[in-house]
């Protein structure tokens, strides 16, 4: 008998030491000094050094894990339902996924961050997305923008300058095409890059002109189908396709290859989210010097041009084991020097309006847009569910290969819009 007890004891010790069972201390004893975080793979690049600095300064251990946004969304939903979610985690903006700030805020899953010292530095379009029922529930660690990246050498070869209006943009494309390069790299295999075109054109054509459209759509006073501006977005997009400015076989080109085609000089431009600029630089011989960026124009008045931006949110779990430490972490990340350090690390824009300059010269051309407030949120964040976007991704491909019309696409998006927030 004694032998049995001894064996069991040894077995138990071995098991807990080797990761077979969870030991008590991990779950109860250390909560006072441990904070858990669950962030996206991209965020982790910029957050890892900041977490370390936070650990050194406060003595609080940050136990961070990271995953791709898709995986994170999937797991976080289950974790929240099961009460196993981390103290701090990434949420999507608006209602764009089951774990978006708007959705979780309404359910009361997110802690109220309204008394944070950084809330007055929230950019306007981020503020609108960070709020739920009048409370601020999300903190923008960074801010991504959709910009056109171009190969400087190919522009020089064709003798063209950066376009500032829609007509100039088409002329540039024409000249590049005549010079034997594909003007625009379009990697639409997953639909991800295709939606970027829609958001970029809609930023100038729809939201800059009519900022209240979303409110009217929410109130069911207006639809996609009978909105002329939305129709123009898709008409202009198809205009580029019909003129032969986009990659042939665009629907077969995976998203990753968009930057690659520009880096190797097979195509002159591509529309991308700012964090992808780092990849572009890595792919080319002279790094960032080979490329420039500009805002995609959509009208013939350069003053009209707006760029779409997206806050990259972190939020605090309403039932965090250690809410105070979690809020301290957010305060720490919101310090101007840390906001800028993060932005530089992932080559994107600072999440808050801070006075410090980022060290990233590549982003210089779009700074005026930020300073003058000529930005709008990505269109999909105002939509009531993720289905509208999903339909845009898939039916958008059908629009591109000509199997449906603009009207049909808009009607399908309306149908999903009308489903409301689940």
């Amino acid at each position: 008998m004694r032998q049995l007890v001894a064996t069991t004891a040894i077995a138990a010790v071995t098991l807990s030491a080797c990761g077979f069972v969870n030991t008590g201390e991990e779950n109860a004893g250390e909560t006072a000094t441990t904070l858990t975080a669950y962030v996206s793979t991209e965020q982790n690049v910029g957050l890892e050094p900041l977490f370390q600095r936070f650990e050194r300064k406060t003595g609080t251990t940050v136990d961070a894990s990271h995953a791709l946004v898709d995986e994170l969304n999937k797991q976080l939903r289950i974790q929240l339902t099961s009460g196993t979610a981390a103290d701090v985690f990434r949420v999507s903006p608006g209602f764009s996924s089951p774990v978006a700030a708007g959705v979780l805020g309404k359910e009361g899953e997110l802690a109220d961050l309204s008394d944070g010292s950084w809330t007055d530095k929230l950019p306007d379009d981020a503020r609108a997305l960070a709020e739920s029922d009048g409370k601020i529930v999300a903190f923008p660690i960074g801010r991504n923008a959709l910009v056109m990246a171009y190969n400087k050498q190919l522009f020089a070869d064709a003798g063209v300058d950066v376009p500032t209006t829609w007509s100039e943009f088409k002329q540039v494309c024409e000249r590049l095409k005549a010079n034997g390069t594909t003007p625009i790299a379009t990697a639409f295999a997953e639909g991800v890059a295709l939606q970027f075109w829609v958001y970029a054109l809609a930023s100038t054509l729809v939201y800059a002109e009519d900022p209240d459209l979303d409110k009217r759509m929410m109130a069911d006073e207006e639809d996609f189908v009978d909105n002329e501006a939305w129709r123009e977005v898709f008409d202009k997009f198809l205009e580029l396709r019909d003129a032969g400015y986009m990659s042939p076989d665009a629907l077969g080109v995976p998203y990753e290859q968009g930057p690659q085609l520009v880096a190797t000089g097979e195509a002159a431009m591509t529309l991308l989210a700012t964090p992808a600029l780092a990849q572009l630089a890595e792919l080319s011989e002279n790094g960032a010097e080979d490329f420039g960026i500009f805002a995609l124009p959509a009208t013939d008045n350069a003053e009209d041009t707006h760029i779409p931006t997206a806050p990259d949110f972190l939020a605090v779990n309403a039932s965090a084991k250690n809410p105070d430490a979690a809020k301290r972490l957010v305060e720490f990340l919101a310090k101007p020097e840390n906001v800028v350090a993060y932005a530089d690390a992932v080559s994107t824009l600072p999440g808050l309006d801070v006075d410090l300059e980022t060290k990233n010269p590549t982003l210089e051309p779009i700074r005026p847009y930020l300073e003058e407030g000529r930005t709008t949120a990505y269109a999909n964040y105002a939509w009531p569910n993720g289905d509208v976007q999903q339909t845009l991704l898939q039916s958008g491909q059908e629009l591109f290969d000509g199997s449906i019309t603009v009207d049909e696409l808009l009607a399908r998006m309306d149908a999903d819009y009308d489903k409301g927030t689940p």
């Binding site: 999937k74 996924s97 089951p98 295999a189 491909q397």
Partner: protein, 263 residues
Amino acid sequence: MAGGWYAFTDWTGRRVAPNFIGVANFVELVTAAEAIAALQNTVIVAFSTTAVQTVFGLALALALHSTLASRNLLRTLFFAPALLPPVVIGFLWKYILTPDGPLNDVLRSIGLDGLARSWLGDSSLALGSVIAVVVWQHVGLTMVIYLAGLQGIPEELREAAEIDGASWWRRLWHVTLPLLMPATTITMSLTLISGLKLFDQVFVMTGGGPGYATQTLSLIMYKEAFVSGRYGYSTAIALVLTMIVFAFAMIQLRALRRFEVQP
């Protein structure tokens, strides 16, 4: 399984209790255009992978059940993809099949420019490409099962038929194939079931696109649960898929068993 209950609810995966909504989820499944297209694709994928893989697997097995010097080496090679994660295979082929990728490069370099295609980007080719990749990965499995079957056929039977002056085709048709029926039953059931449940390769290679050209039931099941947050509906799809798999497997097993003969 407790999961089955959710199929009759509007559960969204949250802490709020789900409402019982009867068979509404199932009604949606058989009326929504997307779901019908997915159902169609699922059936096409399952049947064509089963047919193609069985034929090719048998052909490879017959070729390697011979005196070829390289037979052991080839056997090893053809079976290898079946051991690798479908996700890895999906990634690899996604890269190979890009418009400027290795496959089209090869076609162009041997002067077959006309055959270079956007394999996954053209909605009329995408489903075929996915099927080809699935077959590529698993044909070795079918081959190995048939090889084992061939080894079980007594040599005397074949020799007797040869002495009777039967041609190669006649011998195959009247002697070999009937004796291989148990192997056919196994490989066809396995392929059909995995074809109906196909997820990883499509998920990685096309995500259901372009448009809805390669959408399958397991893919919309995934999207409804994790993109749209409709667990109830997703569970309903899962239940229907299970029933389809079960029904097909039973019908097939019955039908094939009839042709089996004992050696």
